[in-house]
């Protein structure tokens, strides 16, 4: 357990070190949040009836998405891991008495967790004090809030389990660029990162809510404002757990066969 906490501590220290980057990130997220809200507001005023969520649910979705961006952005990956695969530093990783999968998984989780913890407070604080129409509102109730936290953590784990697949597949392709571009586009779109899933036509949405990307940010952000309730909420949580098990299972399986065949090049 200590090993995993150690990664978190190290990442946290690194995050604190790069202050300009943190500041730049926070400013970007504010601007992005405002932009998205204004765009959706334009749609809302154009046709209230066609809007599938309440506008307050929408603003909460956007602000929480920005505050906890580090959790769910699938395109944010450990450059060090890719570099290690390309330049051979993987040799050292394999000389540690810890499974590669476990090590990289905990590194990714620590990285995202430490980033989010560092950057979420300014955004959350400001978003709470915005004018009523644009603010982050309180969660619908205590149950919703607790489920929000639970599903957010599950969503984080699903995102990381998915990223692990990309790291491991990079062993086969050496250069990760192709994989990253492919999955980057898919994941942003299918997880409700571009537009929330409720905006999709009903039949397409039914299918989209079953794929792994929907178990990332889509579930917690909508539970918070009561967009998903009751039975649907339970179904969503079960989907998250299902995808988590599948992604980890597949990942570990491929990782095992990779470890056996790995060839570190160069002397």
């Amino acid at each position: 357990m200590n090993k995993y906490l150690s990664f978190f501590r190290l990442r946290f220290i690194m995050g604190l070190q790069y202050r300009a980057a943190a500041l730049a990130g926070i400013v970007t997220q504010f601007i992005w949040g405002f932009m998205e809200i204004l765009v959706f507001r334009a749609f809302y005023t154009a046709n209230k009836a066609a809007f599938p969520m309440t506008f307050t649910a929408m603003t909460s979705y956007i602000w929480l998405q920005q505050a906890f961006l580090a959790f769910f952005m699938a395109w944010f990956m450990e450059e060090e891991i890719f570099d290690a695969i390309i330049n051979g530093n993987i040799a050292y990783e394999l000389c540690r008495p810890i499974g590669i999968y476990e090590m990289w998984f905990s590194r990714s989780v620590s990285n995202r967790l430490s980033r989010a913890v560092l950057r979420c407070s300014p955004i959350l604080i400001v978003a709470v004090y915005l004018p009523r129409a644009y603010r982050l509102s309180a969660p619908k109730g205590w149950l919703e809030f607790v489920m929000f936290i639970v599903t957010m953590l599950l969503g984080l784990l699903v995102t990381v389990a998915f990223c692990m697949l990309i790291y491991i597949l990079s062993f086969f392709t050496i250069s990760p660029q192709g994989l990253r571009i492919l999955f980057l586009s898919c994941s942003e779109f299918f997880s409700g990162g571009v537009i929330p899933l409720p905006f999709f036509p009903d039949r397409i949405r039914a299918v989209m809510e079953l794929q792994p990307f929907a178990s990332m940010q889509n579930v917690p952000l909508r539970i918070y404002s009561g967009d998903i309730t009751g039975d649907q909420m339970i179904k969503a949580v079960l989907m998250q757990i299902f995808w988590l098990c599948v992604l980890i299972g597949v990942g570990k399986q491929i990782c095992r066969s990779v470890e056996k065949k790995i060839a570190v090049q160069g002397g």
Partner: protein, 262 residues
């Protein structure tokens, strides 16, 4: 105790001529060449021995070290290190070995060296007292006190290599594999590293396997030499066996390579 028997390893390498046309051709068909990195490599190393593993470039030294570390699996042959097969029991095996790959880095780039050390302490589950005492010994003997708090990226190569060596010894491994540890180091750093490894072997009886092109390292540290060339072990003897007359050690070794035609 390290026992290697008849280990063979080949690599498939893509060969291609220069030029745009050739690059296009390889979209459809690739020409592979098989490099026989290791052929029937066998040797035994007892506990506490210091062995120099030398050979010309491309002889198979790094491949051997990778196999001994458990990160590479040979095609045939057996290898037992203290009763374990390295690549089959990787996690248990690596707990007791230290590795320094001279051309790669194990320190986290952006954070102070001491943070990388603390992380290694947790990864290897080193008990606090042992960690503290090892840290003190290593800091004193390798003269690290001044830059333990500096991020690795701001260290000079000599300073970084000393930290890398310290990092690989925090968990008191019984065997230390050094793959070109003094590459790029200045005279002072080289002497410090050699002094340190000798002390380590004396006090802790650590088995040391040293791969290097720096013959002064070999002279200073090892009594036994394994010469590998084109994937085969050509000689298993002492420095005295190959030294003759008054030629410098580099000339002696070059002559040695020529005589074996490698």
């Amino acid at each position: 105790m390290i026992i290697m028997e008849n280990v063979c390893k080949s690599y498939k390498v893509v060969k291609r001529n220069a030029g745009f046309k050739e690059a296009c051709k390889t979209l459809f068909r690739r020409d592979y060449e098989t490099i026989h990195a290791l052929s029937e490599v066998s040797f035994t190393i007892a506990d506490g021995e210091m062995v120099g593993y030398i050979g010309p470039n491309g002889a198979g030294k790094s491949s051997t070290i990778k196999i001994l570390s458990g990160i590479l699996k040979p095609e045939s042959g057996t290898c037992h290190i203290n009763g374990l097969v390295p690549w089959e029991n990787r996690i248990r095996h690596v707990r007791d070995i230290g590795v320094v790959f001279g051309q790669r880095t194990q320190l986290w780039w952006d954070v102070p060296v001491i943070d990388s050390f603390e992380l290694l302490k947790d990864i290897y589950s080193i008990p606090s007292e042992i960690y503290q005492s090892n840290m003190e010994d290593l800091t004193r003997l390798l003269d690290l006190r001044e830059f333990l708090k500096t991020p690795a990226r701001q260290l000079s190569l000599g300073q970084r290599m000393r930290c890398e060596i310290a990092a690989s010894l925090l968990h008191s491994p019984k065997i230390l594999f050094l793959d070109e540890p003094t590459i790029g180091l200045d005279a002072v750093s080289k002497l410090a590293v050699r002094e340190f490894i000798l002390r380590l072997n004396e006090i802790h009886k650590t088995t040391v396997i040293l791969t290097t092109h720096d013959m002064q390292d070999i002279e200073a540290l090892t009594r036994r030499i394994l010469l590998i060339g084109k994937g085969k072990i050509l000689m298993d003897g002492t420095l005295a066996d190959i030294k003759s007359g008054n030629s410098s050690i580099d000339e002696t070794v070059a002559e040695l390579y020529r005589s074996y035609d490698v």
